[in-house]
Subunit: 319 residues, 2 copies
């Protein structure tokens, strides 16, 4: 029920994931608003958390909403994962409250893949779940993201960079300095030291760790800059016949990069640290984006990501 | 003496500013390292603060460095402004320690112009001077940047946005929420509420205010994304004869935007809140960038920006 193009594009994406990859998809929604479910099974609910609703309050109040019901399907073992393009805060709150945190996890985080030309993506954590973080949280985000990079992208020894405003360990806020010290001592990845905003795309590391405020600002800055340049180039190409012809010539060498940068091919962000899988798709998701988000969710299930993260963050690590 | 292409490009840029605009430029540097000063007056010094030097310590120790001496020329009224492409932290420290803060200013900030297609640039404050900020500091940054937007870009009633992770006043860190409240009550600009990373380019506001950590990450993310796309497009254009021909066709409609986005045309960042003018040019500055930074510094002097900022931040406003 969520996202700018729901429910039509969501249903179409689910249908394509079934047809092309044989995934089993349950649609959770209000039947009379859902339209034709394309032959997919519908788990009916009576409420919808809208994009503008307060996340925590709406999850408490709208107990029969599609987001809460989807999280319950995962909790109850009726689904292996949930995917949503709706209210991000409410998606997180539903997943957190219904699935629960893994033992020892202080707070779940959002891991957003950033494309790198010619190699595996870089995970940006936290991309917006926690505006305020402690160094301990950043340490766990790094460990969880590194574990996912290993299982999901097959990178043996992930390199982790800490987002700051200079390469020296002395640069940044007190939180960043403390996190720098902590990350140097943790296992499960190679700590590459501080990285900067210009190291996000392309990135020299597999994981960029930061608090959810900085991460969300950086992610949206990146998206905004790419959107701006692409729309500028597309407008230039559309000037007249000769520029349209020139655009067609350039599309061949540019195609792979453009495809890689297109959000709909990236499959959405992963919510890490819960007793279940939740993939958060962009609010502007079309059918292709949803199809890819479902693929990522299915892969995470097949890879046993929850078990991996459970083993990564052992409660005895904490005190 | 500072910057990746010093001293040759710095001297060349100064020479062009003299030739094209009739500015009077003093070169501050170590004569034997400076090379041919192109007929410009050289204020000789014996030391250089290098890019990797610790800012505060080097300004204390290297009292006869080009940065410290340049700041003293402004303090002593021998120069109207200083321009540097060197160690940013040391440039700020020199200017702060030698020129001093304007009465009532808690901390100076860096205002970096972000280009907007078809209209005046947006000032991002603080772009990196202060990793840690209070709401009061953000309020002053907004007031100072708004005053500069008014005098320098001729915008009558500047719109100020607060960088956050959602439009609602409830979004963000405690600092952002407190600053949101404070900005609503200040005079001298129209507070447009929270803006997000995607609102940096193009921007719906004239000033984006944030702490120096977030601002620096956002600025470098923006630069990195634009560099990445431009280098990708240029590589695609350079594939073969047909793509090079296509590139030439597209350059006509794309030219103005590319020119606007090119850092060397933007003239550098302004250090605001001191009893003198300091323009910080990018470390990668070539002669054109230096020439434009000198132009901006001269304009700020002609516009009386220091007097304007003195009147903007009155000590009695504080506490």
């Amino acid at each position: 029920m969520g996202g700018d193009f729901a429910p039509a594009e969501i249903v179409a994406g689910a249908r394509r994931a079934v047809d092309e990859w044989g995934l089993e998809v349950l649609l959770v929604g209000v039947p009379e608003r859902l339209g034709d479910p394309g032959g997919l099974e519908v788990v009916a609910c009576s409420e919808v958390i809208e994009m503008g609703d307060d996340p925590a309050a709406s999850v408490r109040r709208k107990k029969d909403s599609s987001l809460v019901r989807a999280a319950e399907l995962v909790r109850d073992g009726r689904a292996s994962a949930m995917v949503s393009a709706g209210n991000t805060g409410a998606t997180m709150a539903s997943a957190l409250l219904r699935m629960g945190r893994l033992p020892g996890v202080v707070r779940p985080c959002i891991a957003t893949p950033l494309p790198n030309p010619g190699t595996t993506p870089t995970l940006l954590v936290d991309a917006g779940a926690n505006a305020e973080c402690t160094a301990e949280m950043l340490g766990q985000f790094a460990q969880m993201a590194a574990a996912v990079v290993r299982t999901h992208y097959g990178v043996d020894r992930p390199r982790v960079g800490l987002l700051s405003i200079g390469e020296e360990p002395s640069k940044g806020t007190p939180l960043v300095k403390e996190a720098h010290h902590l990350l140097s001592s943790l296992e499960g990845f190679e700590f590459a030291g501080n990285v900067e905003g210009r190291d996000l795309i392309p990135s020299p590391v597999d994981v960029v760790v930061t608090d959810g405020f900085t991460g969300n600002v950086a992610l949206k800055t990146l998206e905004g800059a790419l959107n701006f340049v692409f729309s500028t180039v597309l407008a230039a190409i559309d000037t007249d016949e000769s520029t349209r012809a020139a655009g067609r010539v350039l599309l061949a060498p540019l195609g792979p990069t453009v495809a890689r940068l297109t959000p709909e091919n990236q499959g959405g962000a992963m919510l890490l640290g819960l007793k279940g899988i939740c993939v958060i798709s962009h609010g502007s998701s079309n059918a292709t984006a949803i199809m890819n988000a479902l693929r990522v969710a299915a892969e995470m299930d097949r890879e046993g990501v929850v078990t991996t993260l459970r083993d990564t963050i052992r409660p005895d690590q904490k005190e």
